[in-house]
Amino acid sequence: MTNAHSAHDLLLRANKITKQFGGLTAVNEVSVDLRKGQIHAVIGPNGAGKSTLTNLLTGDLPLTSGHVTLNGQDITGWTPEKISRHGMGRSYQKTNIFRSFSVWDNVRLSAQSRSQPMPFNPLAWLQQASLMADVNERAERALELAGLQNRRQAMAGAASHGEQRQLEIAMTLATEPQVLLLDEPLAGMGLAEAESMVQLLLRLKPLHAMMLVEHDMDAVFALADQLTVMVNGQVIASGLPANVRADEGVQAAYLGEDH
């Protein structure tokens, strides 16, 4: 995976993005920068607007105001598929895989998106998908990164929870994005599995600009280069993890509570 950007280049910028649902402001003028080679963690209590923020960046929800720039392009108002093709990948908190396909087919189909011929092209209707070499290579790489090579034949719906979370990431990686938005990748994982996932995220870091939404505070402080705290849709602190941790407002609002 070659990347024209050098380390710590700004790949994604969300500039004062806001989302209102009728009278409710779910996300209020939030700005986030994602740089290559860095993990930017976003934390906050349930209902803080973290999922909404992610959905705004991926194009799943339209912005009420503000702009998002990806790789220098203003992607505000783009459809999710267009944003994905422009270099963004996203994994889900609630596992969002193709349950009735095998692990390999999940990753292969994900990789295929980057080589997909136009649907109205009849020649593409006669091609054999399993013989697409570049797709297979991409899928194989993603599978290996996620550590699922030995589980490729398993039915995705029948795999263990940890394996499904790994598959979740593998699918995102198969599209070879530059920006990764990861929504609680450690959700529901045991200690050993969580440790594996943390190692994987560290391996991914040098090549991607990553945003990590997480509740697991140990993982957050082990991984994050930048930390943003959201409460009630607003950013109450943002910056280096050590500084944010020491911030009194943050301690009062969030870190001090049991969760």
């Binding site: 349950r99 295929q112 998106s113 649907p119 209707w125 998908a129 399993s130 034949q153």
Partner: protein, 335 residues
Amino acid sequence: MSDAHAPLETLPRSLKILLGTALLALAAFPFVGTDYYLQMVTRMMILAIFAISLDLLQGVTGLVSLGHAAYFGVAGYALAFLTPPGEPVSLWWTLPAAVGASALLALIIGFLVVRTHGIYFIMVTMAFAQMVFYAFFDNKVLGGSDGLYINFKPEAVLFDLENKKVFYFFTLALMVLVYVFLRRLLWSPFGRALAGIRVNEHRMRALGYGTFNHKLAAFTLAGALAGLAGFLWGAQSGYVNPELMGFHMSAHVIMMVILGGMGNFAGAIVGAFSFEYLLHVFKDLPQVAGFNLGKHWQLWMGLFIVALVVLAPRGILGLFAVMLKDKSDKQGPQP
């Protein structure tokens, strides 16, 4: 779609052998069957093509269209408009023209309906098909409720379609061609994407697939193939009427696909044959104690459908697969 409808994409070997045998039987049939049965089986094969076309949409892509008959009927009418009352017309340009008409209609309607989901999709496909139905039913210019006659079968020059055996083999060849083509398509990148859309469209979009265009292409292709079947129907029966585009026709073809088993095209063929056969059985029921069972065939058909949905949601092939202790389920899908 629920797991109960998860399709048998890969046919177990025993089923393949069974289907191969059936194909041989079909090829041999004209030499042993009477004219009446020849016509019946030809009609079954035409409906099989119709059912296969819907399977692409419903079984593979997961789009439940309650208006697929619109594209079937339009092609039949196209042949009726193109055939002069006194002489036959050439097969070689009317067939593509009729199929093209169906494809165009499917493209236009598809553009409007493919943006809807779930129950909306079901309702709007039905609504637009009814619009087409009423357009023909209400307008004398288009034949009205009486329909139109096609006095001559299309002229093929190389072979004579007026010969029932020749027409039979022509239909059989087309059915096999469509089947082989779609099996190939199923494992193409387009086909894999359609399957992905069926299983999890949201994730497909997040992965970068233009799902609207894929669904629209599937809708158009399905409409075109339904048109192929409709053309053959008009050519064989020599008569088209708005019922060919009606709600009952659309519902029947859904039934055929479900009855046989969705998602592998073979089930659609099995379903078409079975459904037509069942229809004959119900209509031919005798009088019992003064009550004409055959006249009320819709009652038996209705009860059968209710029983089917309650007891056998994966259809005939599904039952077979369970009976033969389906190995391919355990192995997972294979390329």
